[in-house]
Symmetry: C2
Protein backbone atom coordinates (compact mmCIF):
# COMPACT_ATOMS: atom_id res chain seq x y z
CA UNK A 1 0.00 0.00 0.00
CA UNK A 2 1.12 3.60 -0.54
CA UNK A 3 3.03 5.29 2.24
CA UNK A 4 0.99 6.89 4.97
CA UNK A 5 0.11 10.53 4.74
CA UNK A 6 3.20 12.44 5.71
CA UNK A 7 2.53 15.60 7.62
CA UNK A 8 -0.58 16.56 5.86
CA UNK A 9 -0.63 14.81 2.57
CA UNK A 10 2.80 15.15 1.15
CA UNK A 11 2.16 17.15 -1.94
CA UNK A 12 -0.17 19.95 -0.96
CA UNK A 13 1.38 22.20 -3.58
CA UNK A 14 0.16 20.07 -6.45
CA UNK A 15 -3.11 19.32 -4.69
CA UNK A 16 -3.73 23.07 -4.56
CA UNK A 17 -2.99 23.46 -8.26
CA UNK A 18 -5.41 20.65 -9.07
CA UNK A 19 -8.05 22.07 -6.74
CA UNK A 20 -7.59 25.41 -8.51
CA UNK A 21 -8.05 23.83 -11.94
CA UNK A 22 -11.20 22.10 -10.74
CA UNK A 23 -12.63 25.22 -9.19
CA UNK A 24 -11.85 27.21 -12.33
CA UNK A 25 -13.76 24.71 -14.46
CA UNK A 26 -16.68 24.79 -12.02
CA UNK A 27 -16.99 28.45 -11.09
CA UNK A 28 -14.98 30.35 -13.70
CA UNK A 29 -12.30 32.96 -13.24
CA UNK A 30 -14.33 35.14 -10.89
CA UNK A 31 -15.13 32.13 -8.70
CA UNK A 32 -11.50 31.26 -8.09
CA UNK A 33 -10.69 32.15 -4.50
CA UNK A 34 -7.71 31.05 -2.48
CA UNK A 35 -9.97 30.18 0.41
CA UNK A 36 -12.14 27.88 -1.67
CA UNK A 37 -9.06 26.26 -3.20
CA UNK A 38 -7.71 25.57 0.27
CA UNK A 39 -11.01 24.18 1.41
CA UNK A 40 -11.20 21.93 -1.64
CA UNK A 41 -7.79 20.58 -0.78
CA UNK A 42 -8.91 20.02 2.78
CA UNK A 43 -6.61 22.48 4.51
CA UNK A 44 -7.05 25.75 6.36
CA UNK A 45 -7.41 28.93 4.36
CA UNK A 46 -3.90 30.05 5.23
CA UNK A 47 -2.15 26.81 4.33
CA UNK A 48 -1.57 27.85 0.69
CA UNK A 49 0.81 30.52 1.92
CA UNK A 50 3.26 27.78 2.84
CA UNK A 51 3.58 27.00 -0.87
CA UNK A 52 2.64 30.16 -2.75
CA UNK A 53 3.58 33.73 -2.00
CA UNK A 54 0.11 34.93 -2.88
CA UNK A 55 -2.90 34.28 -5.09
CA UNK A 56 -1.04 35.46 -8.19
CA UNK A 57 1.63 32.82 -7.57
CA UNK A 58 -1.00 30.08 -7.52
CA UNK A 59 -2.47 31.45 -10.73
CA UNK A 60 1.01 31.41 -12.27
CA UNK A 61 1.39 27.76 -11.28
CA UNK A 62 -2.01 26.86 -12.76
CA UNK A 63 -1.11 28.64 -16.01
CA UNK A 64 2.30 27.02 -16.20
CA UNK A 65 0.74 23.60 -15.73
CA UNK A 66 -1.75 24.47 -18.48
CA UNK A 67 1.05 25.37 -20.86
CA UNK A 68 2.75 22.06 -20.16
CA UNK A 69 -0.44 20.17 -20.98
CA UNK A 70 -1.08 22.17 -24.11
CA UNK A 71 2.47 21.54 -25.24
CA UNK A 72 2.01 17.82 -24.74
CA UNK A 73 -1.26 17.70 -26.62
CA UNK A 74 0.12 19.66 -29.56
CA UNK A 75 3.21 17.46 -29.63
CA UNK A 76 1.05 14.34 -29.84
CA UNK A 77 -0.82 15.80 -32.82
CA UNK A 78 2.45 16.76 -34.51
CA UNK A 79 3.65 13.18 -34.19
CA UNK A 80 0.40 11.67 -35.29
CA UNK A 81 0.57 13.56 -38.61
CA UNK A 82 4.32 13.41 -38.96
CA UNK A 83 5.44 14.18 -42.49
CA UNK A 84 2.18 15.89 -43.43
CA UNK A 85 2.81 19.56 -42.66
CA UNK A 86 -0.49 20.83 -44.01
CA UNK A 87 -2.40 18.38 -41.89
CA UNK A 88 -0.19 19.17 -38.90
CA UNK A 89 -1.01 22.85 -39.23
CA UNK A 90 -4.74 22.40 -39.30
CA UNK A 91 -4.89 19.69 -36.67
CA UNK A 92 -2.63 21.41 -34.15
CA UNK A 93 -4.64 24.60 -34.58
CA UNK A 94 -7.77 22.58 -33.93
CA UNK A 95 -6.16 21.00 -30.88
CA UNK A 96 -5.51 24.52 -29.64
CA UNK A 97 -9.17 25.41 -30.11
CA UNK A 98 -10.27 22.26 -28.34
CA UNK A 99 -7.94 22.94 -25.45
CA UNK A 100 -9.65 26.31 -25.05
CA UNK A 101 -13.13 24.84 -25.33
CA UNK A 102 -12.35 22.02 -22.90
CA UNK A 103 -11.74 24.50 -20.12
CA UNK A 104 -12.44 28.09 -21.15
CA UNK A 105 -11.74 29.54 -17.73
CA UNK A 106 -8.28 28.01 -17.59
CA UNK A 107 -7.57 29.23 -21.11
CA UNK A 108 -8.55 32.75 -20.06
CA UNK A 109 -6.27 32.54 -17.07
CA UNK A 110 -3.42 31.53 -19.38
CA UNK A 111 -3.99 34.07 -22.12
CA UNK A 112 -6.24 36.89 -21.01
CA UNK A 113 -4.17 38.75 -18.50
CA UNK A 114 -5.54 37.35 -15.27
CA UNK A 115 -1.92 36.79 -14.31
CA UNK A 116 -0.58 40.27 -13.84
CA UNK A 117 3.18 40.25 -13.42
CA UNK A 118 3.97 37.29 -15.62
CA UNK A 119 7.61 38.28 -15.98
CA UNK A 120 8.05 37.48 -12.29
CA UNK A 121 7.32 33.80 -12.86
CA UNK A 122 10.25 32.23 -14.74
CA UNK A 123 8.56 28.86 -15.23
CA UNK A 124 5.56 30.56 -16.79
CA UNK A 125 7.83 32.45 -19.17
CA UNK A 126 9.77 29.30 -20.08
CA UNK A 127 6.68 27.25 -20.82
CA UNK A 128 4.95 29.95 -22.81
CA UNK A 129 8.10 30.47 -24.88
CA UNK A 130 8.51 26.79 -25.61
CA UNK A 131 4.91 26.86 -26.72
CA UNK A 132 5.66 29.56 -29.25
CA UNK A 133 8.78 27.71 -30.34
CA UNK A 134 6.55 24.78 -31.19
CA UNK A 135 4.56 27.00 -33.53
CA UNK A 136 7.74 28.29 -35.15
CA UNK A 137 8.85 24.74 -35.93
CA UNK A 138 5.46 23.92 -37.37
CA UNK A 139 5.70 26.99 -39.58
CA UNK A 140 9.16 26.01 -40.80
CA UNK A 141 7.93 22.58 -41.82
CA UNK A 142 5.09 24.20 -43.74
CA UNK A 143 7.32 26.74 -45.41
CA UNK A 144 9.62 23.94 -46.56
CA UNK A 145 6.60 22.14 -47.98
CA UNK A 146 5.42 25.28 -49.75
CA UNK A 147 2.22 25.43 -47.74
CA UNK A 148 3.05 28.70 -45.98
CA UNK A 149 4.73 31.70 -47.56
CA UNK A 150 8.42 32.27 -47.05
CA UNK A 151 9.73 34.92 -44.74
CA UNK A 152 10.97 35.00 -41.15
CA UNK A 153 9.45 31.93 -39.49
CA UNK A 154 8.82 33.71 -36.21
CA UNK A 155 6.79 36.41 -37.93
CA UNK A 156 4.73 33.93 -39.90
CA UNK A 157 4.32 31.94 -36.69
CA UNK A 158 3.03 35.06 -34.99
CA UNK A 159 0.46 35.44 -37.74
CA UNK A 160 -0.71 31.85 -37.52
CA UNK A 161 -0.81 31.99 -33.75
CA UNK A 162 -2.62 35.31 -33.87
CA UNK A 163 -5.29 33.98 -36.21
CA UNK A 164 -5.99 30.98 -34.03
CA UNK A 165 -5.92 33.12 -30.93
CA UNK A 166 -8.20 35.78 -32.28
CA UNK A 167 -10.63 33.14 -33.40
CA UNK A 168 -10.67 31.53 -29.96
CA UNK A 169 -11.15 34.85 -28.22
CA UNK A 170 -14.11 35.75 -30.38
CA UNK A 171 -15.54 32.25 -30.04
CA UNK A 172 -15.17 32.19 -26.26
CA UNK A 173 -16.63 35.66 -25.90
CA UNK A 174 -19.67 34.73 -27.94
CA UNK A 175 -18.82 37.52 -30.36
CA UNK A 176 -19.29 35.38 -33.44
CA UNK A 177 -22.77 36.10 -34.72
CA UNK A 178 -25.46 33.50 -34.84
CA UNK A 179 -25.78 33.92 -38.58
CA UNK A 180 -22.19 32.71 -38.99
CA UNK A 181 -22.26 29.90 -36.42
CA UNK A 182 -25.55 28.66 -37.85
CA UNK A 183 -23.88 28.15 -41.20
CA UNK A 184 -20.51 26.73 -40.26
CA UNK A 185 -19.04 24.76 -37.39
CA UNK A 186 -16.12 26.15 -35.39
CA UNK A 187 -13.92 23.59 -37.11
CA UNK A 188 -14.95 24.82 -40.56
CA UNK A 189 -14.49 28.43 -39.51
CA UNK A 190 -11.00 27.70 -38.26
CA UNK A 191 -10.07 26.00 -41.52
CA UNK A 192 -11.50 28.90 -43.51
CA UNK A 193 -9.31 31.30 -41.58
CA UNK A 194 -6.15 29.23 -41.86
CA UNK A 195 -6.63 28.70 -45.57
CA UNK A 196 -6.38 32.41 -46.13
CA UNK A 197 -2.71 32.30 -45.23
CA UNK A 198 -2.07 28.94 -46.88
CA UNK A 199 -0.80 28.65 -50.43
CA UNK A 200 -2.13 26.41 -53.13
CA UNK A 201 -4.90 23.88 -53.36
CA UNK A 202 -7.86 24.12 -51.02
Amino acid sequence: MPRKKTYHHGDLKNALIQAGVGLLAKDGVSGLSLRKVASRAGVSHTAPYSHFADKQALIAAISTEGFRQLHGRVLAVMEKYHGKPRKQLIETAWEYVQFALDDPARFKVMFSGVLEQEKEYPEFVTESQSNFQQVVELVELNQAAGVLQDGPADLVALSAWGIVHGFITLLLEGQISHTILGRMSPRELLEFQLKQIMIGKN
Copy 2:
Protein backbone atom coordinates in the same frame (compact mmCIF):
# COMPACT_ATOMS: atom_id res chain seq x y z
CA MET B 1 -24.35 79.57 -15.35
CA PRO B 2 -25.30 75.88 -15.34
CA ARG B 3 -28.23 74.83 -13.23
CA LYS B 4 -27.55 74.08 -9.60
CA LYS B 5 -26.83 70.53 -8.62
CA THR B 6 -30.14 68.75 -8.58
CA TYR B 7 -30.46 66.15 -5.90
CA HIS B 8 -26.95 64.94 -5.91
CA HIS B 9 -25.42 65.91 -9.17
CA GLY B 10 -27.95 65.09 -11.78
CA ASP B 11 -26.21 62.44 -13.76
CA LEU B 12 -24.66 60.06 -11.30
CA LYS B 13 -25.09 57.19 -13.71
CA ASN B 14 -22.67 58.66 -16.22
CA ALA B 15 -20.42 59.94 -13.48
CA LEU B 16 -20.08 56.37 -12.25
CA ILE B 17 -19.22 55.10 -15.72
CA GLN B 18 -16.55 57.77 -16.07
CA ALA B 19 -15.21 57.04 -12.60
CA GLY B 20 -15.04 53.40 -13.58
CA VAL B 21 -13.12 54.15 -16.77
CA GLY B 22 -10.67 56.28 -14.79
CA LEU B 23 -10.18 53.67 -12.11
CA LEU B 24 -9.67 50.98 -14.74
CA ALA B 25 -6.93 53.02 -16.39
CA LYS B 26 -5.29 53.65 -13.01
CA ASP B 27 -5.59 50.31 -11.22
CA GLY B 28 -6.41 47.78 -13.91
CA VAL B 29 -9.16 45.20 -14.04
CA SER B 30 -8.42 43.73 -10.63
CA GLY B 31 -8.46 47.20 -9.06
CA LEU B 32 -11.97 48.00 -10.23
CA SER B 33 -14.25 47.91 -7.21
CA LEU B 34 -17.75 49.28 -6.94
CA ARG B 35 -16.87 50.91 -3.64
CA LYS B 36 -13.89 52.78 -5.10
CA VAL B 37 -15.97 53.84 -8.11
CA ALA B 38 -18.62 55.24 -5.77
CA SER B 39 -16.04 57.02 -3.70
CA ARG B 40 -14.47 58.53 -6.83
CA ALA B 41 -17.87 59.86 -7.81
CA GLY B 42 -18.31 61.28 -4.32
CA VAL B 43 -21.23 59.16 -3.21
CA SER B 44 -21.77 56.43 -0.64
CA HIS B 45 -20.77 52.90 -1.53
CA THR B 46 -24.37 51.83 -1.97
CA ALA B 47 -25.42 54.68 -4.22
CA PRO B 48 -24.48 52.82 -7.44
CA TYR B 49 -27.29 50.38 -6.74
CA SER B 50 -29.76 53.12 -7.59
CA HIS B 51 -28.44 53.02 -11.17
CA PHE B 52 -26.97 49.57 -11.70
CA ALA B 53 -28.32 46.22 -10.62
CA ASP B 54 -24.86 45.03 -9.66
CA LYS B 55 -21.17 45.30 -10.50
CA GLN B 56 -21.63 43.36 -13.73
CA ALA B 57 -24.17 45.93 -14.91
CA LEU B 58 -21.68 48.74 -14.39
CA ILE B 59 -19.07 46.74 -16.29
CA ALA B 60 -21.58 46.25 -19.10
CA ALA B 61 -22.15 50.00 -19.23
CA ILE B 62 -18.42 50.71 -19.32
CA SER B 63 -17.96 48.18 -22.15
CA THR B 64 -20.89 49.56 -24.10
CA GLU B 65 -19.50 53.07 -23.82
CA GLY B 66 -16.14 51.71 -25.00
CA PHE B 67 -17.74 50.13 -28.07
CA ARG B 68 -19.40 53.42 -28.91
CA GLN B 69 -16.07 55.25 -28.75
CA LEU B 70 -14.28 52.61 -30.78
CA HIS B 71 -17.00 52.77 -33.38
CA GLY B 72 -16.61 56.54 -33.61
CA ARG B 73 -12.84 56.38 -33.92
CA VAL B 74 -12.97 53.73 -36.64
CA LEU B 75 -15.64 55.69 -38.49
CA ALA B 76 -13.43 58.79 -38.49
CA VAL B 77 -10.58 56.77 -40.00
CA MET B 78 -12.89 55.29 -42.63
CA GLU B 79 -13.94 58.77 -43.68
CA LYS B 80 -10.44 60.16 -43.64
CA TYR B 81 -9.31 57.56 -46.18
CA HIS B 82 -12.56 57.42 -48.09
CA GLY B 83 -12.15 55.79 -51.48
CA LYS B 84 -8.87 54.09 -50.56
CA PRO B 85 -9.94 50.67 -49.31
CA ARG B 86 -6.45 49.29 -48.82
CA LYS B 87 -5.48 52.27 -46.73
CA GLN B 88 -8.75 52.07 -44.84
CA LEU B 89 -8.07 48.46 -43.95
CA ILE B 90 -4.62 49.08 -42.55
CA GLU B 91 -5.45 52.32 -40.79
CA THR B 92 -8.64 51.12 -39.12
CA ALA B 93 -6.80 48.03 -37.93
CA TRP B 94 -4.13 50.29 -36.53
CA GLU B 95 -6.77 52.45 -34.87
CA TYR B 96 -8.06 49.28 -33.25
CA VAL B 97 -4.60 48.50 -31.92
CA GLN B 98 -4.17 52.03 -30.63
CA PHE B 99 -7.52 51.91 -28.92
CA ALA B 100 -6.31 48.82 -27.07
CA LEU B 101 -2.96 50.35 -26.20
CA ASP B 102 -4.54 53.61 -25.03
CA ASP B 103 -6.37 51.82 -22.27
CA PRO B 104 -5.50 48.13 -22.07
CA ALA B 105 -7.63 47.46 -19.01
CA ARG B 106 -10.75 48.80 -20.69
CA PHE B 107 -9.99 46.77 -23.79
CA LYS B 108 -9.71 43.64 -21.66
CA VAL B 109 -13.03 44.43 -20.03
CA MET B 110 -14.59 44.73 -23.48
CA PHE B 111 -13.05 41.65 -25.06
CA SER B 112 -11.61 39.28 -22.49
CA GLY B 113 -14.64 37.95 -20.73
CA VAL B 114 -14.69 40.13 -17.63
CA LEU B 115 -18.35 40.71 -18.44
CA GLU B 116 -19.93 37.36 -17.79
CA GLN B 117 -23.52 37.28 -19.01
CA GLU B 118 -23.18 39.63 -21.95
CA LYS B 119 -26.38 38.39 -23.54
CA GLU B 120 -28.28 40.00 -20.67
CA TYR B 121 -27.19 43.47 -21.69
CA PRO B 122 -28.99 44.43 -24.93
CA GLU B 123 -27.07 47.68 -25.44
CA PHE B 124 -23.80 45.81 -25.18
CA VAL B 125 -24.97 43.31 -27.77
CA THR B 126 -26.16 46.06 -30.11
CA GLU B 127 -22.94 48.05 -29.94
CA SER B 128 -20.69 45.05 -30.35
CA GLN B 129 -22.71 43.90 -33.35
CA SER B 130 -22.59 47.29 -35.03
CA ASN B 131 -18.86 47.15 -34.49
CA PHE B 132 -18.62 43.90 -36.40
CA GLN B 133 -20.91 45.29 -39.09
CA GLN B 134 -18.38 48.06 -39.57
CA VAL B 135 -15.71 45.46 -40.29
CA VAL B 136 -18.00 43.67 -42.75
CA GLU B 137 -18.49 46.89 -44.71
CA LEU B 138 -14.77 47.50 -44.74
CA VAL B 139 -14.22 44.01 -46.10
CA GLU B 140 -16.82 44.50 -48.83
CA LEU B 141 -15.09 47.66 -49.99
CA ASN B 142 -11.81 45.78 -50.13
CA GLN B 143 -13.27 42.82 -51.94
CA ALA B 144 -14.73 45.16 -54.57
CA ALA B 145 -11.30 46.74 -54.97
CA GLY B 146 -9.65 43.33 -55.31
CA VAL B 147 -7.60 43.82 -52.17
CA LEU B 148 -9.24 41.02 -50.22
CA GLN B 149 -10.27 37.64 -51.62
CA ASP B 150 -13.85 37.02 -52.57
CA GLY B 151 -16.15 34.92 -50.49
CA PRO B 152 -18.76 35.59 -47.80
CA ALA B 153 -17.92 39.03 -46.44
CA ASP B 154 -18.80 38.10 -42.88
CA LEU B 155 -16.37 35.17 -42.91
CA VAL B 156 -13.57 37.24 -44.37
CA ALA B 157 -14.42 39.93 -41.82
CA LEU B 158 -14.12 37.36 -39.08
CA SER B 159 -10.65 36.49 -40.36
CA ALA B 160 -9.51 40.09 -40.49
CA TRP B 161 -11.00 40.82 -37.09
CA GLY B 162 -9.47 37.67 -35.68
CA ILE B 163 -6.00 38.57 -36.94
CA VAL B 164 -6.12 42.02 -35.41
CA HIS B 165 -7.58 40.65 -32.22
CA GLY B 166 -5.09 37.87 -31.84
CA PHE B 167 -2.27 40.30 -32.42
CA ILE B 168 -3.60 42.67 -29.76
CA THR B 169 -4.07 39.85 -27.26
CA LEU B 170 -0.52 38.64 -27.71
CA LEU B 171 0.81 42.19 -27.63
CA LEU B 172 -1.09 43.10 -24.47
CA GLU B 173 -0.09 39.90 -22.74
CA GLY B 174 3.57 40.48 -23.49
CA GLN B 175 3.67 37.16 -25.34
CA ILE B 176 5.49 38.55 -28.34
CA SER B 177 9.13 37.74 -27.85
CA HIS B 178 11.77 40.38 -27.43
CA THR B 179 13.58 39.12 -30.50
CA ILE B 180 10.57 40.02 -32.62
CA LEU B 181 9.69 43.33 -31.00
CA GLY B 182 13.34 44.38 -31.17
CA ARG B 183 13.25 44.02 -34.94
CA MET B 184 9.85 45.45 -35.82
CA SER B 185 7.44 47.96 -34.38
CA PRO B 186 3.89 46.91 -33.50
CA ARG B 187 2.73 48.88 -36.52
CA GLU B 188 5.04 46.95 -38.85
CA LEU B 189 4.00 43.66 -37.29
CA LEU B 190 0.35 44.48 -37.80
CA GLU B 191 0.95 45.32 -41.45
CA PHE B 192 2.92 42.13 -41.94
CA GLN B 193 0.01 40.12 -40.61
CA LEU B 194 -2.64 41.91 -42.64
CA LYS B 195 -0.62 41.60 -45.83
CA GLN B 196 -0.82 37.85 -45.57
CA ILE B 197 -4.53 37.97 -46.33
CA MET B 198 -4.24 40.82 -48.84
CA ILE B 199 -3.91 40.23 -52.54
CA GLY B 200 -1.47 41.85 -54.88
CA LYS B 201 1.34 44.33 -54.48
CA ASN B 202 3.07 44.67 -51.13
